[in-house]
Amino acid sequence: MTAPLAIRLRGVVKRYGKITAVDGLDLDVPEGTCVGLLGPNGAGKSTTMKMLTAQAIADEGELSVLGHTLPGASKQARAECGVVPQLDNLDVTLTVEQNLLVFAFLYRLDRRERKPAVERALEIANLVDRRDTRVDKLSGGMRRRLLIARALVHRPRLVLLDEPTVGLDPQVRQELWALIDRLRSEGTSVLMSTHYIEEAERLADSVTIMSHGRAVARGAPQELILEHAGPEAVEVYGAQARLAEVEAEARAAGLATRRTGTSVAVLRLNGDAPAGERRPANLEDVFVLLTGEEIA
């Protein structure tokens, strides 16, 4: 434990009536790193994000953000955080520039700082020549860029991204990845929840995989792959009956398997792998192994 932590969660529990959305979560985001929070829908990612801004209050456990203990000192923590919500909540009848200006006020920038901060955010979002465009006239990708830039107006030390690229074209997604990568390279701490595996693999220094409200694995993407799936996977295609056979054989031999719909991927290979297409194991393999195949 060397680097100070931007986020530290210990044994955090959040219940909604009889449903336990977060069930004893431990989570660390060391300062200056990007941590990906991976998990299927309903794993508790969004609830975790809401607790970090005190928009949900934990029933049990300890939470601290940038050294401030939540929920008591959450306002101080929020002042130093930028939040990119999953659902677009820009003011659609305002212009790009006005949206940024509103946040310069909400995040308490001094009068002299406001204008340069808005300019800087316009540049980050690459929307300088769209400053006077109303938000409802922007494309989906531009809106997302603005949503991210809006969270950066006050130069936050920590940025919380909740599913930053959900529902976007691959082109737009890559554009946003570049933006997020730039943040990290500038030393901002980032916590990003996502269920796009590739996103976490590319951007995150470390990944925490959540399932049923708990962290089931954490580490650098490559380490997790080696630890849980092994270096390579064998992909066997065939009829459903054949696939079931392969699965049974592999399990009998102590190997792990996962279905990919049209094939069975055999993982954690030792000497006796079945014949099939070899490929490097990936984070998706780990994800499915750890969070289960059934969709809740």
């Binding site: 959040k14 909604y16 609830t47 809401k50 801004t53 005190a54 928009q55 949900a56 209050i57 306002k75 101080q76 929020r78 002042a79 955080c81 939040v83 919500p85 659902l87 909540n89 003011d91 659609v92 009848t93 305002l94 006005q98 200006l101 509103v102 946040f103 006020f105 909400l106 995040y107 308490r108």
Partner: protein, 259 residues
């Protein structure tokens, strides 16, 4: 640098207020249009319609009576309705409040600043019927300078009432109950269009609980002469109403916004 009013921090209030001010720049024309045209129509319809049947009411010219009475109506409409629909849309559909509460702003500051903004607008637009009535022959009086202040105090209470209503409502259709069973009777039993002493006694007693009635009285007295302690009493009722609604609105909105 920390400047606080109790738990309310000034920079947080300012942030929420500025959001409204900047938004207002995109829709002030339509708001001003309806705030001006509506009371003019009321005055024309009631003033000349009824006015041709009844020349004086309670000792006043009917146009003067209605012109001052509709100030209260304008305050009610521009505060309670704006708060009900505005709040509901902002938290349910536009998710604006999620964004604001992720910033260093608490629910208490959010509700207070929103209500203060709506109250300011109500105080200003509430004067429009009076100005229109002046054009139609109401004599200007120094007391009228206090009308924006009365409008603000009452508007703050109604705005908080609207925020409370929207935090209780589960769908926008729920507002029908509040409007039909709550606001419409209050609006009619306030002495706006006819004096209350025509009503049965029990209804007159009930009307004493109607904040709108107290606002109507204050506006009339501002135009025709204050009546000492009874006006202090009217102001006190409006302030008490505002404080009660303010705390209720914050309490309920917090339940709604924070899990």
């Amino acid at each position: 640098m920390r400047s606080q009013v109790g738990r309310l921090e000034r920079p947080a209030l300012l942030g929420v207020l500025m959001r409204e001010v900047i938004n207002f720049s995109s829709y002030w024309r339509s708001t001003t249009f309806s705030a001006t045209v509506e009371p003019t129509i009321y005055l024309l319809a009631f003033g000349f319609g009824f006015g041709s049947l009844v020349s004086t009411v309670g000792g006043y010219d009917y146009v003067e009576f209605v012109g001052t009475g509709t100030v209260a109506t304008a305050v009610l409409f521009s505060s309670a309705f704006a708060a009900m629909f505005g709040t509901f849309i902002k938290y349910k559909f536009q998710r604006t409040y999620d964004a604001i509460l992720a910033a260093p702003v608490d629910t208490e500051e959010l509700a207070t600043a929103e209500a203060a903004w709506i109250a300011t607008r109500a105080g200003v637009y509430g004067c429009v019927p009076m100005l229109v009535a002046i054009v139609f022959g109401l004599d200007p009086a120094w007391g009228m300078l206090l009308v924006p202040f009365f409008g603000f105090v009452a508007g703050f209470g109604w705005a908080c009432f609207g925020i409370l209503a929207s935090a209780i409502a589960t769908s926008i259709e729920n507002f029908n109950y509040i409007i039909s069973a709550g606001l419409t009777p209050l609006f009619l039993v306030a002495g706006t269009f006819f004096p209350l002493d025509q009503l049965p006694e029990w209804l007159q007693t009930v009307a004493q609980l109607n904040p709108l009635y107290h606002l109507v009285q204050l506006v009339r007295h501002a135009a025709f002469g204050f009546e000492g302690w009874s006006d202090v009493g009217h102001v006190a009722v409006l302030i008490a109403f505002g404080l009660l609604m303010w705390r209720l609105a914050i309490w309920r909105l917090e339940q709604r916004l924070i899990d």
